[in-house]
């Protein structure tokens, strides 16, 4: 099939991945997921509240045609992240996982050493591993070599909405790795998503920019179109930039007025 996002054995028609955190209600989250057109949503794994053990389950509000991507958010070591991946698998979600290991609490910046180590282990164990990482092209090559199924550089710190601070990083990644490059974290507005896609990102992952928008459902729709527009723009191939003006109209055959 042409123009699909292929991650390991999984195929997606949409190039927008949506997070499920920070929504005011599960119903609103569901509406936003539907409006976004996404086929893949991230979830986290946390302790059950034993004072209210059977509160409504997030999973009940995720449309049936949308795949679940458990993340290892909150982990600070490879060991913790591997355990969370195993737990997610035990919970019956399968072997797709977003690997996220943080090395700096304030920046929520990925720990490259622990991330590479966990990637190696999880790939060997048969997981399909989507790796959240720093925008470092050398690390990207190591992750690719380790068998990562998608490599996901941050655009800017998680939840910051600062956009894609180094869009060249996307191009550098694309030149150096064989698997999809997905800009994850920092996208604040549709133009940020479009910019990432125009520059060759295979997909973007967005949570806060949709969940915390004034109208999350409308923003989800906007992000859907931004991703599609950016992708089309990338595939169409943009015109080269030039230093000086070049007329769009013919410069010959001008009328002689007033002479």
């Amino acid at each position: 099939m042409a123009n699909v996002l292929q991650i390991g054995e999984y195929t997606f028609g949409s190039r927008l991945i949506v997070g499920t955190g920070k929504y005011q209600t599960f119903d609103l989250m569901r509406e936003a997921i539907i409006a976004s057109g996404t086929e893949l949503v991230t979830v986290a794994l946390r302790r059950v509240n034993l004072d209210n053990p059977n509160e409504p389950s997030l999973l009940d509000f995720i449309p049936k045609n949308v795949r679940i991507l458990p993340n290892t958010a909150g982990c600070y070591t490879a060991k913790e992240a591997i355990a969370v991946a195993h737990l997610a698998k035990a919970a019956g979600i399968g072997t797709l996982v977003k690997l996220e290991i943080i090395g700096d609490q304030d920046l929520l910046w990925p720990d490259p050493i622990e991330t590479l180590e966990a990637t190696k282990v999880l790939v060997q164990e048969g997981f399909t591993v989507m790796v959240y990482t720093t925008p470092d092209p050398v690390l990207a090559k190591y992750l690719d070599k380790a068998g990562a199924h998608a490599i996901m550089p941050l655009g800017s710190p998680i939840g910051s909405g600062q956009g894609v601070l180094d869009v060249e990083a996307v191009r550098r990644f694309k030149q150096r790795v064989s698997v999809p490059v997905i800009v994850d974290a920092g996208i604040g507005s549709p133009q940020d998503a479009c910019l990432a896609m125009e520059n060759g990102a295979d997909a973007v992952l967005i949570n806060t920019a949709i969940a915390q928008a004034g109208d999350p459902v409308m923003m989800a729709q906007a992000m859907k179109w931004a991703v599609e527009a950016g992708r089309l723009g990338f595939e169409a191939g943009r015109m080269p930039k030039r230093q000086d003006a070049v007329a769009s109209s013919p410069t010959t055959g001008m009328i002689a007025a007033g002479q």
């Binding site: 986290a44 794994l45 059950v48 034993l50 389950s57 997030l58 035990a90 919970a91 939840g159």
Partner: protein, 66 residues
């Protein structure tokens, strides 16, 4: 029997298996994953997985996240 469940000590009566523990706690088996002393107990093993005095148990489920 005293278990440390999700970081809190709890006294549960007449509990030998993971299934019995979840039932006593009122937790739906279908939505959770369980780890006992660091070992994951698969959902199909809830009936057989044993819990013993002073075991450390984690009961987790999916929540919203990015």
């Amino acid at each position: 029997m005293r278990l440390i469940i999700n970081g809190e000590p709890r006294d549960l009566q007449n509990v030998r298996t993971v299934k019995e523990m979840l039932d006593v706690l009122g937790v739906d088996h279908q939505t959770v994953a369980v780890m006992v002393n660091g070992e994951i107990i698969g959902r199909t093993d809830f009936d057989h997985g044993q819990v013993q005095e002073n075991d450390t148990v984690e009961i987790v489920r999916f929540v919203g996240g990015g």
